[in-house]
Symmetry: C2
Subunit: 153 residues, 2 copies
Protein backbone atom coordinates (compact mmCIF):
# COMPACT_ATOMS: atom_id res chain seq x y z
CA UNK A 1 0.00 0.00 0.00
CA UNK A 2 2.77 2.35 0.99
CA UNK A 3 4.99 3.14 -2.02
CA UNK A 4 8.53 1.79 -1.80
CA UNK A 5 11.17 4.53 -1.89
CA UNK A 6 12.46 3.28 -5.25
CA UNK A 7 8.99 3.48 -6.76
CA UNK A 8 8.99 7.23 -6.46
CA UNK A 9 11.18 7.75 -9.52
CA UNK A 10 8.63 5.90 -11.64
CA UNK A 11 5.81 7.93 -10.19
CA UNK A 12 7.62 11.14 -11.05
CA UNK A 13 8.10 9.99 -14.65
CA UNK A 14 4.40 9.28 -14.87
CA UNK A 15 3.67 12.67 -13.30
CA UNK A 16 5.88 14.46 -15.84
CA UNK A 17 4.34 12.59 -18.72
CA UNK A 18 0.80 13.39 -17.63
CA UNK A 19 1.61 17.08 -17.19
CA UNK A 20 3.31 17.25 -20.57
CA UNK A 21 0.45 15.47 -22.30
CA UNK A 22 -2.03 17.89 -20.72
CA UNK A 23 0.10 20.84 -21.89
CA UNK A 24 0.60 22.28 -18.41
CA UNK A 25 3.88 23.44 -16.99
CA UNK A 26 5.99 21.47 -14.59
CA UNK A 27 6.83 23.70 -11.67
CA UNK A 28 8.74 23.28 -8.46
CA UNK A 29 5.50 23.75 -6.48
CA UNK A 30 3.63 21.10 -8.45
CA UNK A 31 6.38 18.54 -8.00
CA UNK A 32 6.59 19.13 -4.26
CA UNK A 33 2.83 18.94 -3.81
CA UNK A 34 2.83 15.70 -5.78
CA UNK A 35 5.63 14.34 -3.61
CA UNK A 36 3.77 15.30 -0.45
CA UNK A 37 0.56 13.52 -1.43
CA UNK A 38 2.43 10.45 -2.72
CA UNK A 39 4.49 10.10 0.42
CA UNK A 40 1.59 9.59 2.77
CA UNK A 41 -1.07 7.01 3.31
CA UNK A 42 -3.19 9.41 5.36
CA UNK A 43 -5.55 11.04 2.84
CA UNK A 44 -4.52 14.53 3.87
CA UNK A 45 -6.62 17.65 3.50
CA UNK A 46 -5.30 20.75 1.70
CA UNK A 47 -4.08 22.35 4.93
CA UNK A 48 -2.01 19.28 5.83
CA UNK A 49 -0.42 19.15 2.38
CA UNK A 50 0.28 22.86 2.72
CA UNK A 51 2.08 22.43 6.04
CA UNK A 52 4.18 19.61 4.63
CA UNK A 53 5.20 21.39 1.45
CA UNK A 54 5.94 24.63 3.29
CA UNK A 55 8.91 22.94 4.93
CA UNK A 56 10.51 22.69 1.50
CA UNK A 57 8.96 25.79 -0.14
CA UNK A 58 8.34 28.27 2.67
CA UNK A 59 6.81 30.87 0.35
CA UNK A 60 4.12 28.61 -1.12
CA UNK A 61 0.54 29.73 -0.55
CA UNK A 62 -2.48 27.70 0.50
CA UNK A 63 -4.45 28.65 -2.58
CA UNK A 64 -1.72 27.26 -4.82
CA UNK A 65 -2.05 24.00 -2.94
CA UNK A 66 -5.81 24.00 -3.52
CA UNK A 67 -5.43 24.86 -7.20
CA UNK A 68 -2.79 22.22 -7.68
CA UNK A 69 -4.74 19.48 -5.91
CA UNK A 70 -7.73 20.29 -8.12
CA UNK A 71 -5.52 20.17 -11.19
CA UNK A 72 -4.11 16.77 -10.18
CA UNK A 73 -7.63 15.50 -9.56
CA UNK A 74 -8.74 16.66 -13.02
CA UNK A 75 -5.69 15.02 -14.58
CA UNK A 76 -6.42 11.77 -12.78
CA UNK A 77 -3.15 11.83 -10.81
CA UNK A 78 -5.00 11.72 -7.49
CA UNK A 79 -8.62 11.53 -6.41
CA UNK A 80 -10.61 13.46 -3.85
CA UNK A 81 -12.70 11.76 -1.19
CA UNK A 82 -15.51 14.24 -1.35
CA UNK A 83 -16.30 16.69 -4.07
CA UNK A 84 -15.81 20.36 -3.52
CA UNK A 85 -18.53 22.27 -1.66
CA UNK A 86 -20.41 19.08 -1.06
CA UNK A 87 -23.00 19.81 1.58
CA UNK A 88 -24.08 17.97 4.64
CA UNK A 89 -26.95 15.62 3.85
CA UNK A 90 -29.38 13.90 6.18
CA UNK A 91 -30.88 10.46 6.15
CA UNK A 92 -34.02 9.43 7.99
CA UNK A 93 -33.44 5.74 7.35
CA UNK A 94 -31.96 4.40 10.58
CA UNK A 95 -31.95 0.74 9.58
CA UNK A 96 -28.73 -0.77 8.28
CA UNK A 97 -28.59 0.05 4.60
CA UNK A 98 -26.30 0.77 1.66
CA UNK A 99 -26.18 3.40 -1.06
CA UNK A 100 -26.26 3.91 -4.77
CA UNK A 101 -24.61 7.24 -5.64
CA UNK A 102 -24.80 9.02 -8.98
CA UNK A 103 -21.39 10.61 -9.52
CA UNK A 104 -22.89 13.13 -11.93
CA UNK A 105 -25.83 14.69 -10.06
CA UNK A 106 -25.19 13.44 -6.54
CA UNK A 107 -28.41 11.46 -6.31
CA UNK A 108 -28.29 8.97 -3.44
CA UNK A 109 -30.68 6.06 -2.97
CA UNK A 110 -30.85 3.50 -0.21
CA UNK A 111 -31.11 -0.21 -0.56
CA UNK A 112 -30.85 -2.94 2.06
CA UNK A 113 -28.89 -6.12 1.81
CA UNK A 114 -28.44 -8.55 4.70
CA UNK A 115 -25.59 -10.05 2.66
CA UNK A 116 -23.63 -6.78 2.59
CA UNK A 117 -24.46 -6.03 6.24
CA UNK A 118 -22.60 -9.21 7.15
CA UNK A 119 -19.59 -8.87 4.85
CA UNK A 120 -16.56 -10.72 6.22
CA UNK A 121 -13.96 -8.35 7.61
CA UNK A 122 -10.58 -8.86 5.91
CA UNK A 123 -7.50 -9.28 8.10
CA UNK A 124 -6.04 -6.11 6.63
CA UNK A 125 -8.99 -4.22 8.11
CA UNK A 126 -8.72 -5.87 11.53
CA UNK A 127 -5.23 -4.49 11.68
CA UNK A 128 -6.61 -0.93 11.55
CA UNK A 129 -9.17 -1.18 14.33
CA UNK A 130 -12.47 -2.68 15.39
CA UNK A 131 -15.20 -2.56 12.81
CA UNK A 132 -18.75 -1.76 13.80
CA UNK A 133 -20.42 -1.56 10.43
CA UNK A 134 -19.90 -2.44 6.77
CA UNK A 135 -21.24 0.01 4.25
CA UNK A 136 -21.30 -0.63 0.51
CA UNK A 137 -21.59 2.15 -2.00
CA UNK A 138 -22.23 1.50 -5.68
CA UNK A 139 -21.16 4.45 -7.79
CA UNK A 140 -22.26 5.12 -11.32
CA UNK A 141 -24.76 7.17 -13.29
CA UNK A 142 -28.46 7.29 -12.56
CA UNK A 143 -30.80 6.71 -15.51
CA UNK A 144 -31.57 10.38 -15.74
CA UNK A 145 -27.92 11.39 -16.16
CA UNK A 146 -27.27 8.48 -18.54
CA UNK A 147 -30.05 9.72 -20.82
CA UNK A 148 -28.78 13.27 -20.69
CA UNK A 149 -25.32 12.05 -21.75
CA UNK A 150 -26.68 10.11 -24.72
CA UNK A 151 -28.72 13.02 -26.02
CA UNK A 152 -25.80 15.37 -25.47
CA UNK A 153 -23.52 13.60 -27.99
Amino acid sequence: MEPHPDEFGQQVSHFQEVLKRAGVKQTHQRLEIFREVMQTVEHPDAETVYRGVRQRIPTISLDTVYRTLMLFTDLGLISSLKTSHERMRFDANMHAHHHFVCTECGMIRDFSSPEFDALAIPDAVRAFGSTVQAHVEFRGLCWHCLEKKQHGT
Copy 2:
Protein backbone atom coordinates in the same frame (compact mmCIF):
# COMPACT_ATOMS: atom_id res chain seq x y z
CA MET B 1 -37.90 1.89 1.61
CA GLU B 2 -40.37 4.77 1.35
CA PRO B 3 -42.48 4.99 4.51
CA HIS B 4 -46.14 4.14 4.03
CA PRO B 5 -48.48 7.01 4.89
CA ASP B 6 -49.94 5.09 7.83
CA GLU B 7 -46.48 4.48 9.27
CA PHE B 8 -46.06 8.15 9.93
CA GLY B 9 -48.18 8.10 13.06
CA GLN B 10 -45.88 5.49 14.60
CA GLN B 11 -42.84 7.51 13.66
CA VAL B 12 -44.29 10.56 15.35
CA SER B 13 -44.91 8.58 18.53
CA HIS B 14 -41.31 7.45 18.48
CA PHE B 15 -40.20 11.01 17.82
CA GLN B 16 -42.20 12.32 20.77
CA GLU B 17 -40.92 9.62 23.05
CA VAL B 18 -37.30 10.27 22.13
CA LEU B 19 -37.68 14.02 22.65
CA LYS B 20 -39.38 13.50 26.01
CA ARG B 21 -36.74 11.05 27.17
CA ALA B 22 -34.00 13.49 26.21
CA GLY B 23 -35.78 16.27 28.10
CA VAL B 24 -36.08 18.62 25.14
CA LYS B 25 -39.19 20.44 24.11
CA GLN B 26 -41.51 19.39 21.35
CA THR B 27 -42.08 22.37 19.11
CA HIS B 28 -43.99 23.01 15.94
CA GLN B 29 -40.71 23.60 14.09
CA ARG B 30 -39.19 20.33 15.28
CA LEU B 31 -42.19 18.31 14.26
CA GLU B 32 -42.32 19.86 10.80
CA ILE B 33 -38.59 19.37 10.23
CA PHE B 34 -38.98 15.75 11.30
CA ARG B 35 -41.89 15.32 8.93
CA GLU B 36 -39.92 16.84 6.06
CA VAL B 37 -36.94 14.52 6.47
CA MET B 38 -39.15 11.44 6.98
CA GLN B 39 -41.24 12.17 3.91
CA THR B 40 -38.41 11.96 1.44
CA VAL B 41 -36.06 9.33 0.20
CA GLU B 42 -33.66 11.91 -1.21
CA HIS B 43 -31.15 12.56 1.59
CA PRO B 44 -31.75 16.30 1.50
CA ASP B 45 -29.32 18.98 2.64
CA ALA B 46 -30.29 21.63 5.20
CA GLU B 47 -31.29 24.13 2.52
CA THR B 48 -33.69 21.65 0.90
CA VAL B 49 -35.30 20.81 4.24
CA TYR B 50 -35.59 24.54 4.89
CA ARG B 51 -37.38 25.18 1.59
CA GLY B 52 -39.80 22.34 2.28
CA VAL B 53 -40.63 23.35 5.84
CA ARG B 54 -40.99 27.01 4.90
CA GLN B 55 -44.11 26.13 2.94
CA ARG B 56 -45.75 25.19 6.23
CA ILE B 57 -43.90 27.56 8.57
CA PRO B 58 -42.97 30.61 6.48
CA THR B 59 -41.16 32.34 9.35
CA ILE B 60 -38.76 29.49 10.12
CA SER B 61 -35.08 30.31 9.79
CA LEU B 62 -32.29 28.31 8.20
CA ASP B 63 -30.25 28.19 11.38
CA THR B 64 -33.13 26.60 13.25
CA VAL B 65 -33.18 23.91 10.59
CA TYR B 66 -29.43 23.36 11.08
CA ARG B 67 -29.73 23.27 14.86
CA THR B 68 -32.67 20.91 14.69
CA LEU B 69 -31.03 18.52 12.23
CA MET B 70 -27.97 18.38 14.49
CA LEU B 71 -30.19 17.72 17.49
CA PHE B 72 -31.98 14.90 15.68
CA THR B 73 -28.63 13.43 14.68
CA ASP B 74 -27.41 13.52 18.28
CA LEU B 75 -30.63 11.90 19.45
CA GLY B 76 -30.27 9.15 16.85
CA LEU B 77 -33.50 10.09 15.05
CA ILE B 78 -31.67 10.64 11.77
CA SER B 79 -28.10 10.31 10.57
CA SER B 80 -25.88 12.60 8.54
CA LEU B 81 -23.97 11.44 5.48
CA LYS B 82 -20.93 13.52 6.19
CA THR B 83 -19.91 15.06 9.45
CA SER B 84 -19.97 18.77 9.95
CA HIS B 85 -17.04 20.81 8.68
CA GLU B 86 -15.54 17.73 7.14
CA ARG B 87 -12.85 18.87 4.77
CA MET B 88 -11.89 17.83 1.31
CA ARG B 89 -9.32 15.03 1.44
CA PHE B 90 -7.06 13.71 -1.24
CA ASP B 91 -5.95 10.23 -2.11
CA ALA B 92 -2.91 9.34 -4.17
CA ASN B 93 -3.90 5.69 -4.50
CA MET B 94 -5.44 5.42 -7.96
CA HIS B 95 -5.89 1.65 -7.92
CA ALA B 96 -9.29 0.21 -7.01
CA HIS B 97 -9.43 0.08 -3.24
CA HIS B 98 -11.67 0.26 -0.20
CA HIS B 99 -11.56 2.10 3.11
CA PHE B 100 -11.50 1.62 6.83
CA VAL B 101 -12.79 4.78 8.53
CA CYS B 102 -12.48 5.62 12.20
CA THR B 103 -15.70 7.36 13.17
CA GLU B 104 -14.00 9.01 16.13
CA CYS B 105 -10.88 10.68 14.70
CA GLY B 106 -11.58 10.46 10.98
CA MET B 107 -8.60 8.27 10.22
CA ILE B 108 -8.92 6.62 6.81
CA ARG B 109 -6.84 3.69 5.60
CA ASP B 110 -6.89 1.91 2.26
CA PHE B 111 -7.03 -1.78 1.64
CA SER B 112 -7.54 -3.69 -1.56
CA SER B 113 -9.82 -6.61 -2.14
CA PRO B 114 -10.48 -8.16 -5.55
CA GLU B 115 -13.49 -9.82 -3.93
CA PHE B 116 -15.11 -6.49 -3.00
CA ASP B 117 -14.15 -4.92 -6.33
CA ALA B 118 -16.33 -7.54 -8.02
CA LEU B 119 -19.32 -7.49 -5.66
CA ALA B 120 -22.51 -8.65 -7.42
CA ILE B 121 -24.84 -5.74 -8.11
CA PRO B 122 -28.27 -6.32 -6.54
CA ASP B 123 -31.35 -5.84 -8.72
CA ALA B 124 -32.50 -3.02 -6.46
CA VAL B 125 -29.36 -1.14 -7.45
CA ARG B 126 -29.74 -1.83 -11.17
CA ALA B 127 -33.08 -0.07 -10.92
CA PHE B 128 -31.32 3.15 -9.91
CA GLY B 129 -28.77 3.36 -12.70
CA SER B 130 -25.65 1.85 -14.16
CA THR B 131 -22.93 1.04 -11.67
CA VAL B 132 -19.30 1.70 -12.47
CA GLN B 133 -17.66 0.85 -9.19
CA ALA B 134 -18.31 -0.85 -5.87
CA HIS B 135 -16.74 0.70 -2.83
CA VAL B 136 -16.81 -0.87 0.62
CA GLU B 137 -16.27 1.12 3.76
CA PHE B 138 -15.75 -0.50 7.15
CA ARG B 139 -16.54 1.91 9.96
CA GLY B 140 -15.44 1.54 13.52
CA LEU B 141 -12.78 2.76 15.91
CA CYS B 142 -9.08 2.67 15.22
CA TRP B 143 -6.85 1.13 17.89
CA HIS B 144 -5.73 4.52 19.04
CA CYS B 145 -9.27 5.76 19.73
CA LEU B 146 -10.24 2.44 21.32
CA GLU B 147 -7.40 2.76 23.80
CA LYS B 148 -8.31 6.33 24.58
CA LYS B 149 -11.89 5.26 25.33
CA GLN B 150 -10.79 2.50 27.68
CA HIS B 151 -8.48 4.76 29.65
CA GLY B 152 -11.14 7.46 29.71
CA THR B 153 -13.63 5.34 31.67
